[in-house]
């Protein structure tokens, strides 16, 4: 029985990072350009991998980027690949190609990223909000809103801050 072809990511990734599965849970770690994500998804699909997760990070404060996070894995033996894709920091404006036509699992994940972060996916068949109501005018997981305890009306009734856990 011949298995699926071995994974070939040559020419698709920018750089391979250090990862230690025993510590961070990733067998492999890459960074890639947004223009390569479709080719990367096709390579993973051809080798029998599935899209385990797709999410986004608001890294405008430290990296001045939005960053997409893809993880691919397979059923046979665990082999988790982390692919990090940096995008422009402008919201709206940040955009990546959709991989929903390659791996349908991405359809909903991309809608969620759009919903929560405002990153657009070109070529997505139905890019609309998925969790928040259609008529809201913000992207909830952006770091634009500050933290809850920084808000002026978040003062606690008791004088001791609930975050003060020193003994």
């Amino acid at each position: 029985m011949s298995g699926p072809p071995t994974l070939d990511l040559r020419g698709k990734i920018l750089e391979t990072g250090e990862s230690d599965y025993a510590v961070d849970g990733f067998h492999h770690r890459y960074s890639a350009g947004a223009d390569q994500v479709v080719a990367i998804a096709e390579a993973f699909r051809a080798s029998g991998y599935f899209l385990e997760m797709l999410t986004c990070e608001d890294r405008r404060a430290d990296l001045h980027k939005m960053r997409l996070v893809y993880t691919f894995n397979r059923f046979a033996t665990a082999d988790r690949h982390l692919v990090l894709v940096e995008l422009a920091p402008e919201i709206p404006g940040a955009e990546a190609p959709s991989i929903a036509h390659v791996l349908p699992a991405a359809d909903w994940y991309e809608r969620e990223v759009f919903d929560m972060y405002g990153v657009r996916f070109s070529g997505h068949p139905n890019l609309k909000r998925i969790l928040l109501p259609d008529d809201v005018d913000f992207h909830a997981l952006l770091k634009d809103f500050g933290r809850i305890e920084d808000a002026p009306d978040a003062a606690q009734p008791n004088s001791e801050s609930p975050r003060d856990t020193s003994e």
């Binding site: 961070d24 899209l51 608001d58 993880t71 059923f75 909903w108 998925i130 856990t165």
Partner: protein, 377 residues
């Protein structure tokens, strides 16, 4: 059942098709799920699940509180495998920071997680039967499930939304009464399995409504990332407890039940056999429960994981539950993404439902065991 005529998927002229909202308040929908069905007669031309009604922003909350303050949130993401999520989150943080868990705490965790898994499957079994029109099994299942809730309530202080895990252990020790109760429950449940088999599995109406209905093939599972019993019912032996052993599961002897057909009946069989395997795991845990501490001497309240990205997965009652945690080195997570199995299972539904009958929708959606709060987070 499910005999789709060849013309099913042909585009009908507009006056022959119509749209039907199934949910969000449909009596046989599980929680607040809405399926927007495009129908031609009783045949489903297309289906669009509409979700978000139970969105509580757990991921946003995670960015606004320290790691330990997020522990109570975890069991509320999926209230049916709350214990597995709760312990799983603690295990993720322990791995990030490098906290050792004492042997006794590790075995207690396995026992309570497996009790939680049986409880979740029992609820699924009862409600699935209810979906198919059988009220009697539902009452028996809830009777059994109540036993587990009572056992866990006594030890953890909660019936459903547990906050039993702590970084490096659990909050409260188990005693001899817990061991006796658990053993007695296993004896009781194994007797009940025989009754369930006679009552449900041998029922011809049940078989007819499930066999060949709602096939999730390995190909569809791979496309959408379907995991858990729904995946194992299509013949793939993938279980996070085996693929990426965590929390001491590698020391337990258990099988991973699989079926070939991928239909509702296969998913039923897989879950029932999984309960039997959970019983085996619990039995081994109760026998081999070591003495010793159940956590660190001093409660770990403040911790600062190293900077970076982390991924940790556990096998919940519904499949691969993953946590992607981004740490900026502070005591608060910069981001936690919860990768929940029901989300992936539901996203495969349009592919599975296309061409089936409306009446089968209830059986199919019931058989994949959705927990809506887990999808919406």
């Amino acid at each position: 059942m499910n005999q789709s005529a060849p013309d099913t998927l042909e585009r009908a002229s507009d006056d022959e098709t119509y749209y039907l909202n199934m949910g969000p308040q449909h009596p046989s929908m599980h929680g607040v799920l809405r399926l927007l069905l495009h129908l031609r007669g009783e045949k489903i031309l297309d289906c669009e699940p509409v979700i978000g009604y139970a969105h509580r922003a757990h991921e946003k909350m995670a960015e606004n509180r320290s790691y330990i303050m997020f522990i109570p949130n975890t069991s509320r993401v999926d209230y049916l495998s709350g214990m597995i999520y709760n312990i799983g989150f603690c295990q993720a943080i322990e791995k990030m920071v490098g906290i050792e868990v004492p042997a006794r705490a590790e075995v207690i965790r396995v026992i309570v997680c497996e009790l939680n898994r049986i409880q979740s499957h029992l609820l699924w079994l009862g409600t699935f039967m209810l979906d198919l029109g059988g009220v009697t099994p539902f009452l028996y299942c809830f009777d059994d499930r109540e036993e587990i809730l009572t056992i866990l309530d006594r030890v953890t202080g909660s019936r459903l939304t547990y906050a039993y895990g702590r970084f490096g252990g659990v909050t409260m020790d188990v005693d001899d009464v817990f061991i006796e109760q658990s053993r007695a429950f296993l004896v009781r449940l194994r007797e009940r399995f025989l009754m369930y088999h006679a009552l449900i599995r041998e029922n011809v109406i049940f078989q007819e409504r499930c066999r060949g209905v709602g096939v999730i093939s390995e190909e569809i599972a791979l496309k959408y990332g379907v995991t858990g019993p729904s995946l194992r019912a299509s013949g793939v032996e993938y279980d996070v407890r085996r693929a990426e052993p965590y929390g001491g599961y590698e020391r337990f002897d258990f099988e991973i039940p699989t079926e070939k057909a991928g239909d509702c009946l296969a998913r039923f069989d897989v879950r029932v056999r999984e309960m039997e395997q959970s019983c085996r795991i619990i039995e081994q845990g109760l026998t081999a429960l070591p003495d010793g501490p159940i956590g660190p001497k001093k409660l770990i309240k403040k911790l600062k994981p190293p900077k970076g990205e982390f991924y940790f997965a556990v096998e919940s009652a519904r499949g691969h539950f993953g946590m992607y945690i981004l740490s900026d080195g502070s005591d608060t997570p910069a981001k936690i993404k919860l990768r929940t199995p029901s989300f992936s299972s539901l996203s495969s539904m349009p592919d599975v439902l296309r061409g089936t009958m409306v009446a089968d929708t209830i059986a199919i959606v019931g058989s994949i065991d959705l927990v809506i709060p887990e999808i919406d987070r």
